[in-house]
Structures are given as C-alpha cells and as structure tokens.
Symmetry: C2
Subunit: 411 residues, 2 copies
C-alpha cells in the first residue's frame, strides 16, 4: 500500500496522519518541533473548532476536551454604532477552543502512542529529492521552509497582496463569560473586529482576545505594544482599546485581575490571505500536495483556517485510501473533494475584509431582527460553502434576506 510522508504537525498534518493510521496506511510525520517544545512557546494562534471539526476529532478518538461547560453555544454580535445593536446567533451544536500548544502535542502523543512515527528534524532544500524518492506522496502541511515555497500563488483566488487586518491575539485572565458560553463578535465600523473566545489554556478556562484591526487606525497600538517591555503599559493599551472600541467587552473585564495568562501568551502581526495551487510534480513523477494553511491561508476573523484544514485532511485521507495510484488523477479527486469548502471559506473571509457593502449592511440589519436568519449565518461557520451560496454575490445576499423574511412571515 501507499507510504505517505506528511511534512508538518499542525492540525492538517495530524488529522491526516491519525486518519491514515486508523486505516493502516503507512504515514510518517516530519516536523522540527517536539511535543515538549510547545509548553514554553509563544502563543501559536487563537483557534476555535466548530462542531464539524469536533465530529472529526471524535472519529479519530482524540477529543480529550469533551466537557460541555468548556464549549460555546452561540455568537453574540455587537455592532458598535452610536446606538449599539446586540443580537445572538446559535449553532445547532456547540464549538470549542483549546490552546494549540496543548492541542497539537496531545495529538502527537496520540499518534505516537498508537505506533505512529514522527521524525523530528528540519527540512532543507536538499532534502526534497530524498523525500520524493522515499515516499509515494509528500503531503506538505507546513508553509514555512522550502517545501511550502514550491506551491504557486493562485491569483484568481488571492485578491490581496497585504494583510487586511493588523492582529493582536492574546490569552487573558479577568474576562467574564456568559453562561452558557459564547464567542463575542464585536464590530466597530472603520476600526475592525474583536473576537472573544472562551479558550482552554494551560491554566484552565481563559479568554482569547483576537483584535482584528483595520490598518492605519489607532488600534494598531494593540499590535505594537510589547508586553515584555512593560506589562502594565501593555495591559493599559488593551484596556483602552476595549473601552473605546469594544465597550461591551470592556464591561466584562475585571481590571484588577486582567492580564495575559502567561507572558508568552501573545501573538501580534497579520496574514496575507492567499490561495496556492495544490500540487507540485517532482522530477521522478511523484507528487507533493498541499493541505491546510499552505494551500489556503485565511485571515482568522471567521475562524475558518483550522476547520478547513481538518476538513481537507479528511477529504485527502479518504482519497488516499481509495486511490490505486497517487498520480494527477488522485490530486484532481482531492481538489474536487475539498476545494468547494476551502475556497468558499477563503472567499467569504475575503468578502468581509473591506468596509461592508450595502447588501452586507442590510444583512447585518436583517440578522439583528430575524433570529432564524442569524442562526443560519452562525451555523454556516460549520459549512462555508453554504455561507458562500448565500453571500456569493450582492443578488444572493438580497435573495437570502428576502427568503428569510418570507420564511418568517409564513411562520
């Protein structure tokens, strides 16, 4: 049977490796980061797993965080107009967030304890032909390094050349949560978004604050302030930002206990939303195929990156199991299986980067008045292709609002 090399041990690489291991297909992970390295590493990201991803974790037997008290059940929207608008949208089934410095090594341990092999080393340029010879397929699940650089940019699906948000992500103490828990989406016109995510941290339940700042605004202070230089000044920058731009979140803060959970629990920067071509043919006729961020990089505002990476890993896993040969037709089948959801997540995320169109403003207004419309929008964080069916053109947004209005009138 096939012998698969998986380069990278993020969620895509690990979910794929565990999927193949369950089906007795030989898979080797290569990564330069050992499980023990994660405990003291700076924050990697702020990631929520929607229920479709939790279902995949169950299928893999790696859902180590099943406590429903740690899950969140709805999005609480705040539109910070002069007269703020607040409305919830419920999922059908809850989502859950775990610090990836806990999550990834736990899944590495699962894979190794079940007999899986992880090789800990850095891949250099001259390793590539060796990998191509050794494996029937090289799955590239990490963007950095010479393998990630092989995949061409897809200009048709990559409208931006620069980050569209300046990001400040941190794990904090001292932010109250509702009961049951929610993710708060706080939108301030012209300034950007704040996503508040109840997150399982090394110290128990904490709070991720993900500032999605429009470049050029004074909120960039949340990106440039350095905690290690002056923790108190950093805290004050964040508190000021909350108070001025996201006041409903500020109201949840206990300023006395408010702080990063640990000094390293902060990540500041930005991503360029990018779609890359999904495969490279090696000189020996074998293929490398991209999965996860190296294939589709999205801004984190919609919480899609990890979820589409896990989805793509499962689709790829099924195709590997079914494939008689890991050739161009295999790649084509992988792309047919995963691309609609992955590209829909990218397009939807790219759509909400600029100031909202008239139609999108109408949609937000309608969601605030129509709970079932808002629930559908929220549930579709699990199903980005359905979201895109509703958002894919101004006419679709209008039609969706009309349909929801008619549905409500018919009730």
């Amino acid at each position: 049977m096939h012998n698969i090399g998986i380069i990278g041990a993020g969620v895509a690489g690990l979910h794929l490796a565990l999927y193949l291991q369950q089906r007795d297909i030989e898979a080797t992970i290569v990564t330069d980061r050992e499980p023990g390295d994660y405990r003291t590493a700076p924050l990697l990201n702020t990631v929520a797993h929607h229920n479709t991803t939790l279902e995949r974790e169950k299928a893999l037997g790696v859902n180590h965080w099943p406590d429903m008290d740690d899950h969140y059940h709805y999005h609480d929207h705040w539109l910070n107009f002069p007269e703020p608008i607040n409305f919830p949208g419920h999922f059908k089934k809850p989502s859950r967030a775990v610090d990836y410095r806990i999550y990834l090594p736990a899944l590495m341990d699962d894979f190794e304890s079940r007999g899986g092999r992880i090789e800990y080393r850095r891949i250099e340029e001259n390793d590539i032909p060796v990998l191509a010879d050794r494996f029937d397929l090289v799955v590239v699940a990490v963007g950095k390094g010479p393998l990630g650089a092989m995949f061409e940019h897809d200009p048709a699906e990559s409208p931006y050349q620069q980050p569209q948000r300046r990001l400040s992500c941190g794990l904090y103490t001292g932010v109250a949560h509702a009961n049951p828990k929610n993710v708060t989406l706080s939108l301030t016109p012209g300034a950007g978004e704040l996503i508040v995510i109840p997150t399982i941290t090394f110290g128990g339940m904490g709070t991720a604050l993900l500032f999605e700042n429009v470049p050029g605004t004074e909120l960039e202070a949340t990106v440039t302030a350095k905690y290690e230089n002056d923790p108190a000044a950093f805290r004050q920058v964040i508190l000021d930002a909350l108070e001025r731009f996201h006041p409903s979140v500020y109201d949840r803060v206990d300023t006395a206990s408010f702080d990063l959970c640990q000094p390293v629990d902060i990540l500041q920067g930005g991503v360029v939303p990018t779609v890359r071509k999904s495969y490279v043919e090696f000189d020996n006729g074998k293929y490398a195929v991209a999965v996860g961020d190296v294939h589709v990089t999205v801004d984190p505002v919609n919480g899609q990156g990890a979820n589409i990476a896990s989805y793509a890993a499962f689709q790829m896993g099924r195709e590997i199991v079914d494939a008689p040969v890991l050739d161009r037709r295999f790649i084509e089948r992988v792309d047919m299986a995963r691309n609609d959801r992955c590209l829909a997540a990218a397009r939807w995320t790219n759509l909400v980067m600029p100031p909202p169109s008239e139609e999108f403003q109408m949609l937000l207004g309608a969601m605030s008045q129509n709970k079932s419309l808002c629930d559908e929008f929220t549930e579709n964080f699990n199903w980005p292709e359905r979201q895109w069916d509703n958002l894919g053109s101004p006419a679709r947004i209008r039609r969706w609002i009309e349909r929801s209005t008619m549905d409500r009138a018919a009730e």
Copy 2:
C-alpha cells in the same frame, strides 16, 4: 421563480426541459426543427442509452420503449487478430437504443402535451441580446448557430484538432442478433472499430452499424460511397468492409436482405473531440451555459455523448432548482456537479483514439481472460468517472489489472 430559455431540442435540452417542467420551473425550448420534420430527415446519429440514462427517462416519465426484448445486455468483444479473440462483458442492467428521429419528437410531444412551450424558429446573431433580456438563464443545448459559437475551446481538455475517426453510421436490415441482444465491439488493429447496435427504427428492430475508421485506410470507402448514387454499389462496399475487417459481423449478415432500412438512414463524416468552456456572461450580467455536445463533444466510439448530455441536464436541472440566483456561483456549482463525469467520458474516449498503449493492450488481454474485469469495464460505460479512475494513467491500468487478478485468485 426562474425563467429558463433552452436553445436546442436534443437529448440535453429535452431532458432538462422535462426535468424543470416536473418541478414547475418555467422553461421554454427554442428550436428550428418541428416534430414532424424528423420522419423524413437523414439519420441523426447512432445512440445507445445506458441504464443510468434509462433511469433518468423513467424519472421523467418518458420511457416509451420498455420492452426488454429490445434492450441489449452485454458487449460482445471481437479482437480481430490473425487468431481472433472473442469475449463478452455484461452490464448490471441493460441498455437500449432508439433512432433519435423517433426519440426526440416523442419527448417534444411529452413536453408540449404537459403544457410546455416550444418555439419553432431559427436563432440569428441579433436574437442573442433579446434572449439575454427575456430569460434569467439561456441554456445552449445546440452547437450550430451563433449561440454555440460563443463558447471558447478549452485547449487543456481538447487534444485533437481533427476527427480521429472517419465515421459511417447507418441503420440496416438483414443483420442477425444474438438472443439476448448485445452490442458488438469489433476491433481491428490499424483499421478501427465497428460498433453494432440493436436499434429501434421506424420499421421495428434494426441494426446500427457504426464504422469507426482510422483515417487513411481503405475503410474510408464506407464514408465516401454514396447510397443515393448507387445503392447496390454502396451495399457492396459495406459488405466488403465487413467481410475483410469485421468478419464476425459479416457472418451475421443475410446478404439477400441486407440494406439500409431507408435510403436516408445513413450519416457519414467525423467529429473533432472538443471540450468548451461552459459559460458566457452577457452584457446585462446574465449568463448562458452550455450543455451536451456544445460543452463536451466526444467521438461516438464509446457511446458516451448522449448519456453525459442527459446526465449533465439532470445535474444542471437540480442546480437551477436550488439556485437563489443564476449567477457565476450557479455556473460553478453546475460544473462541480457534472464535470467529473463529462470530462472523464471525453478523456477516456480520447485515450482510445490512438493505437493502444502497451498497458491498454494488456488490459484487453486481461479482459479476455477475466470475466469480472470485463464486466467492470462494461458496467462503467454507465460511470465514465469510474472508468477514468481505472484508465487515467498507465500505472492505474496496471494497478487495475493487478487488482482484478488478485480478486480472482482470492475467489
């Protein structure tokens, strides 16, 4: 709801129109050929409907030819080597062929008798903007005329610029059929193929002889001989071709009664296998979408054209029913739904145009020895994407043969 214009009343246009009619979606057919015109027209083609297409006919309530005696149940393969090889491959469920001069007007009558509207007129260049204004979507289901010309050639899926076979298709009397009936595939290396199809004709059960002649061989006489000039000479050309190149079929001929069923029951020429881009955006922002031959033209050797046209019509119909807006996303969903099967049929057909590769020769040899392999190949005339999964590269063909050999050893 949507108002759909369907230009062309071939199998794609009619199956789509009947599908939409069943679901109360307004669909208008525009064609320049009235039902009464077909009775005296020259032969249109020689088409077999595989069982997946018969199932669609049942779903539309248009299977007017249910008699199992008129169906065929297997392919009878003759490899005309110095020592001929003969072996059957069975379908899971039978196929059936009806002269399209009977079939198409019958379905036009079905559509009209159920309240459908067909407009009988020719489309000229200056009708296009009128159609674009009148309909929410223009479905182009006919290749000739100014609408068909709008769709760009897709070079990646169109390897040939010339017909790869010189075709002589006719409906004949005086050819015996096995009981139960079969389609005979007679392959003569260097000369081409002859497909013998039991076909329901105006005069009852007859026989389609579809000569697929390699260009430049003396079999081209079957393409250039003109029945109307000298019927006896024409008959002799066909008989000579059968006797010399397809002797097992010649053995089935009663020379005394052998003739075209009617003088017009002959079609001679060739097709350039071509895939076209599937849509055009009109100046007003609406779309035209291609279906059937205008989208994917295949050589008839594998009997795929009508079947993928019907399949594509159903996939398009479902997407029209589901679409909130007939925009670019709608087109994308149509293509996701239909393209794998349609392109697989084209690629498989294009694959068998040149002299067979070593792997394909091995496959034919293995099929002659391994009934279950040959049955799988035969059944996959219903499922071209599965055929392509097995034939898509030399390694896939080898792997398929190996797997079949192992399966048989395990029995």
